[in-house]
Each structure stands twice: as structure tokens, then as C-alpha cells.
């Protein structure tokens, strides 16, 4: 299995390379001049020439691509044209927000979707089944951003002054500061070192960081800020997972061995969870893996509405501002997220169904 994992990771390299080339070419095809976008329409040719030379935009595109590839291998994604800061630093700041948002949404989708699907399958054609499936159908049909706005209206305005009030924007309330765990623990790293960037990245996962530092006030605030966006983002995956769970369970429940298990006198719960659910899990896990893409795409919309400084929003802003280095780096990160999610799904098959051999 380790050999399989290594081989899969090696196979991902050409895919990532292809994606890098495609985004590099596509982002160079975006009409408009980054110099004019950055310095304004009145920038003189002289100023623009210096600007292009500074960011290496004056060289032929294949040369630019070559230089870029070399830098990426060194972990350097270049400088953002818009923010004049290294893209890697921006990535370290922004990616944790999206990871937290995505993981919370996925958790909600799985923890609600799977039980709803199972319940719907074992109580087929009952009122519970009808309600769940109508709900799932509405869930897949709903625009994420619309649900987000409606949720913000209900929980931030209508429920104001009640304990159910939830903040509609931002990652933390004003005045609440999350102290990085390595500072609390008294760790010191030389700035710009790999280890420094790594702990900085981890400490930007606000919920995780506040768990380590046991800062419950920050934890509560961070969770409160994350509820509305992740509920909005989770609806489509939730609905899809619930539907898949239902149909997969129905398929398994009519098998002979389920009847045999029941006839043997096993408890209903044992039959459903140990015999049926275990065997119905394969297509469910596959569909969960596919949802990672939906989450990334939804993150663009959810982060825009809820004012979260994440990957999705900056990618959208970068495309409109022609900030090539950011577009490239973040697309590669999203593609990497895809590859990793699919790898995890494939590896999990072995645990779900011991008959499957990866080779």
C-alpha cells in the first residue's frame, strides 16, 4: 500500500505539471495589461516597461514558464503583482481559512447526510423518506450564495439579541486575537525558515490553534463565525451524499445475505450498520471525494458573501485583477487538493472492502 501511495503521488506530478502549464497559458491569455491594471490607465510606457522587467513579464512566454517552473520547484511562487508580497506568504495566510471552511462543511455534510440517507432507506416511502428526499432535491437546487444571504439575514438580523445570534462576516470578531500556538509554547524559529512557515500555516488554522492553546474564548468566536458559511457551503454535498446513501443502502438491503442475517435473529441495528452500511459505503465514499471540487467552487461564492479571506475569494479577485502569480499558485493548490482527496478516497477502499487490492 505504501508503494501504491508513492506511485500515485509520482503519477500526480505530470498532472500537476499539465495543470501548471494550462493555467500559465490561460492566465497569459486574459486580455488586459497587468501594468495598467496595477498602476492605472495613465501609466507611461516607460514606467510600464520597468514594471514588466521587474516582474519578468517582458520575456517570451515559454521563457517565463521555464523560469516559473524552476522557482516553483524551490517552493517560490513569485511575487503577487497586486499585493507586492510573496505568493507563498499569502498562501500561508489564506489557505487555512479555506481548509477550515471546507472541512467543517464536509463534516456537516457527512454527519447529517449519511444518517439521513440511511434513515430514508430503512423507512422507505415513509413520511421521513419523503421529507428527506424532498429536502435533498431542494438542497441540490439551491444557489449557495442565496442560502448564505438568507441565513445571514435570519441569524444576524432577525435573531439579534437572542442566544442564537451568529456573526454574518469575518473570521474573528474585532478585538479577538488568536495568539499563535508556537508563541504560547515559547518556540522560536528563524524567520523565512521552512519550519517557521509551517508552524505559521498551522497556527492560522484558528480553531486548531485555539484548541492547542486552550483559548476557549477564541475557539467559541471562531466556531460562531464559521457556522453560517459552512452550513451554506455544505447544502449541496449534504443533499448529494444523502441521496447516494439512500440509493446505495436500498441496493444492499434487498440482497439475500441481509435477509439471511435478519432470519438468523440478529439485531436490526447490527444488520443495518454491520451488514448493510459497510457494504453500501463504497459508492458513498466515492461521491464524498467528488464533492471536494464542489466545495472549492462553492468557497469562491461563500467566502465572498461572508467576508472570509480565503483562497476562493482571492482567486476570484486575482483573476479580475490579472494577478498571474496568484492565479497560478492557487489553481495548482486547488488541483493538489483534488489529487490528494482522490488519493485518500482510493486508499480508503482497502479499509472499506478488504477484497480490494491496490496494485
Amino acid at each position: 500500500m505504501i508503494a501504491y501511495t508513492i506511485r500515485r503521488l509520482l503519477l500526480a506530478i505530470p498532472v500537476m505539471f499539465g495543470i501548471l502549464v494550462v493555467t500559465f497559458t490561460l492566465s497569459r491569455m486574459i486580455p488586459g495589461d497587468p501594468c495598467k491594471a496595477m498602476l492605472g490607465e495613465k501609466a507611461t510606457a516607460e514606467v510600464c516597461d520597468r514594471f514588466r522587467a521587474q516582474y519578468g513579464l517582458d520575456k517570451p512566454i515559454p521563457v517565463q514558464l521555464g523560469i516559473y517552473m524552476g522557482n516553483v520547484l524551490k517552493g517560490d511562487f513569485g511575487m503577487s503583482i497586486r499585493f507586492s508580497r510573496p505568493v507563498t506568504i499569502i498562501l500561508i495566510e489564506r489557505l487555512p481559512t479555506t481548509i477550515e471552511l471546507g472541512l467543517t462543511s464536509l463534516m456537516i455534510a457527512v454527519l447529517v447526510g449519511i444518517p439521513a440517507g440511511i434513515l430514508s432507506a430503512i423507512k422507505r416511502n415513509s413520511i421521513i423518506d419523503v421529507i428527506t428526499m424532498v429536502g435533498a432535491n431542494i438542497g441540490v437546487s439551491m444557489p449557495v450564495y442565496w442560502l448564505g444571504l438568507i441565513l445571514a439575514y435570519i441569524f444576524a438580523l432577525l435573531l439579534k439579541d437572542t442566544p442564537f445570534w451568529l456573526p454574518p462576516t469575518g473570521r474573528l470578531s474585532a478585538g479577538v486575537v488568536s495568539i499563535p500556538f508556537y508563541q504560547v509554547l515559547g518556540w522560536e524559529f528563524p524567520k523565512e525558515s521552512f519550519r517557521y512557515h509551517l508552524v505559521e500555516f498551522i497556527s492560522n488554522l484558528v480553531i486548531f490553534n485555539s484548541l492547542i492553546t486552550r483559548d476557549w474564548a477564541v475557539l467559541k468566536d471562531a466556531v460562531k463565525h464559521l457556522i453560517l458559511p459552512s452550513v451554506a457551503l455544505s447544502t449541496i454535498p449534504l443533499a448529494i451524499i444523502a441521496r447516494m446513501t439512500r440509493s446505495s443502502m436500498l441496493e444492499v438491503l434487498k440482497q439475500d445475505y441481509i435477509r439471511a442475517a435478519r432470519a438468523k435473529g440478529l439485531l436490526r441495528g447490527t444488520v443495518i450498520f454491520k451488514h448493510a452500511f459497510r457494504n453500501a459505503l463504497l459508492p458513498i465514499v466515492t461521491i464524498i471525494g467528488i464533492q471536494v471540487g464542489t466545495l472549492f467552487a462553492g468557497a469562491v461564492l461563500t467566502e465572498t458573501i461572508f467576508g472570509l479571506a480565503g483562497v476562493g475569494r482571492i482567486l476570484f479577485e486575482a483573476i479580475t485583477a490579472r494577478d498571474f502569480p496568484i492565479i497560478q499558485a492557487f489553481t495548482v493548490v486547488i488541483a493538489a487538493g483534488y489529487v490528494i482527496a482522490n488519493l485518500i478516497v482510493d486508499l480508503s477502499y482497502v479499509f472499506i472492502d478488504p477484497r480490494i487490492r491496490l496494485d
Binding site: 495543470i19 486580455p31 437546487s141 450564495y145 442565496w146 438568507i150 439575514y153 471540487g293 467552487a297 469562491v300
Partner: protein
């Protein structure tokens, strides 16, 4: 499928009434969700066709100087106690002093147009690519399917955003972007159908009778891909409408003052706390339209997919 029909004709005439299409149609009408979806869709199509007759106001012309109303005024429905001397606006007034109800009605035209055009384009191109890929195989197959893999490796909305950025914002470009993003799904469906029947005896027979590649593909093989394409296409229209509305919401699709639902939501999204009706109604309209296509698609799949028939 076509050959099945012909074979039946040789037997008895009674068999004709039980043709595959008729059976399928009967099965579709037995699906509650398909009927509900069809009814909802019919209702939306009627609204789109008769928008001019139903809409009480012009969707683009502001009411300044025509009526004494303020911008972003809440809905006023006489039936629910709004004073009779106030003009009736059942979905309120938007930020540019226009009747929101009329704009929502006209919006159905854009949504249905977006759904049908993008999916038709994607099916056309996807079928062509999938058919070439599946029928000729080898080299063609490798190139086309790898290209489709690359397209599918990106989240569809992100890819659509990038394509629109290259082409420039606007409804037409957004349509093209959404259609391009949708192509791989149809190419895969068609390729799978082609592969599953390519080696059948009747295809070989047709080849032996002197049928050309084009004839065999069009008359013998592709009819098999129609049922899954219909199902996938119906579900795909829902996704296309959602994606197009999302692009418009981000300001990349239809531009104001076009009464497109996503654009309406996008321009008024900061007003959600002061004028929630301007956000609620366009979004609900998107949801209902997408729901209609999803219900119809689900019903069609249950009726057409032979694996599911014995369950029903």
C-alpha cells in the same frame, strides 16, 4: 434499439403498441417526481412566453416620475392589508425603482435560454467527441479523453470563471464558458454507449452490408446513447442555470440592467439586511427552476435506466 423495432414489426402488429418508447413514456408518467417537474417546467415556460402579458410593469424602465414609490420599498400586496391607495408591487421595488415582480418574470426567459442553449451546445460537441473517441478508439480516444480529463480536473465554476476572464464578462461569453465546462460529461456518456454496442452483431452486420462509418454511427450506434443523454442533459440544465446565475452574481455574466436572476441578486446583495425581498425572490426563482429540471431528470432516469426498473 432501431433494429429492435424493425424486428418487432416482422412479428405481430400488437407488438408495436408495446414499443420501447411507448413503454418508457408510460413509465415516465408513473414517476411522481417527473410529473411534478414537468408541471413546474411547463408553468415556467408559460411565464417566459407570456412575460409581456403578465408583467404589470416594464422590467428595465425605472418608475421615477411614473409612480410615487421609493427605491427598495417593501412588497405591497392589497390582499394582505397594504393600503389601497398605494400602487401594488407584490415583490417590492428594486434599487433602481423598478417593479421587482416584473423583473423576476422576465428573468425566467434568461434562465431557460441559458439552460437550453448551453446544454444543447455541450451535447452536440460532447456527442461528436465521444462518438469519435469510442468508435475509432486508439489514438483519437487517447487524445480526446485526456483532454476531457484535464477539463474535469478543475471545479467547473472555477474553470468557467477563468474562461469568462479570458473572453471578457457578458452573458454570451458566460454561456460559452458553461457549455465548454459541461462537454466532458456528455462525451463520456456517448463514449460509454458507443463502446458497449460497437462489438454487437448487428453493427457487424451493418458493416458487412456495406454501411459506411458515418451511417453506422448515426443510425446503428448513436440511437443507443439517446436515453442516457436525455437524462444527463435534463440534470445538466439545472447545473448550467445554477452556474450561469453564479457567474452573473459575481458580475461576470449578464450585466445590469438585464433582468437576470443572478445579476439581480448580485447587485442587491449588500442590501440583504435592509431590503431582504430583493434577495429572496430572485434566489427563490432560481431554486424553483433548477428544482423543476432536477425532478424531471430524476424521474426520467428512474424511468429509463433499466437497472432501476425492477425496483419500481
Amino acid at each position: 434499439m432501431v433494429t429492435d423495432l424493425k424486428a418487432n414489426q416482422f412479428k405481430q402488429k400488437d407488438y408495436r403498441s408495446n414499443s420501447l418508447w411507448r413503454l418508457t413514456l408510460r413509465r415516465i408518467f408513473r414517476q411522481r417526481s417527473a410529473i411534478f417537474g414537468m408541471a413546474l417546467l411547463g408553468f415556467l415556460i408559460l411565464i417566459a412566453i407570456f412575460a409581456e402579458a403578465i408583467a404589470p410593469y416594464d422590467p428595465i424602465q425605472p418608475l421615477i416620475g411614473i409612480e410615487n414609490v421609493n427605491k427598495r420599498e417593501a412588497p405591497c400586496i392589497h390582499l394582505f392589508g397594504c393600503p389601497k391607495d398605494r400602487p401594488q408591487h407584490i415583490m417590492g421595488i428594486d434599487g433602481n425603482v423598478r417593479d421587482q415582480f416584473s423583473r423576476v418574470l422576465y428573468g425566467s426567459r434568461y434562465s431557460l435560454y441559458v439552460g437550453f442553449t448551453t446544454v444543447s451546445f455541450a451535447i452536440l460537441v460532447g456527442t461528436l467527441l465521444g462518438a469519435i473517441s469510442g468508435y475509432f478508439g486508439g489514438w483519437w480516444d487517447n487524445i480526446i479523453m485526456r483532454l476531457m480529463d484535464v477539463l474535469m480536473a478543475f471545479p467547473s465554476l472555477l474553470l468557467a470563471i477563468t474562461i469568462v476572464s479570458v473572453l471578457g464578462p457578458g452573458l454570451q461569453n458566460a454561456l460559452l464558458a458553461i457549455a465548454i465546462v459541461a462537454i466532458p460529461v456528455y462525451a463520456r456518456v456517448v463514449r460509454a454507449s458507443v463502446l458497449s454496442v460497437k462489438e454487437q452483431a448487428y453493427v457487424a452486420a451493418s458493416l458487412a452490408l456495406g454501411g459506411g462509418h458515418f451511417h453506422i454511427l448515426l443510425r446503428r450506434i448513436l440511437p443507443n446513447a439517446i436515453p442516457p443523454l436525455i437524462v444527463q442533459g435534463t440534470l445538466g440544465i439545472g447545473t448550467a442555470i445554477l452556474d450561469a446565475a453564479a457567474l452573473s452574481f459575481l458580475g461576470l455574466g449578464a450585466q445590469p440592467p438585464t433582468p437576470e436572476w443572478g445579476t439581480m441578486l448580485g447587485t442587491e446583495r449588500n442590501q440583504v439586511f435592509t431590503a431582504p425581498h430583493l434577495v429572496f425572490f430572485p434566489g427563490a426563482a432560481i431554486m424553483i427552476t433548477v428544482l423543476a429540471f432536477n425532478l424531471l431528470g430524476d424521474g426520467l432516469r428512474d424511468a429509463i435506466d433499466p437497472r432501476l426498473t425492477h425496483q419500481k
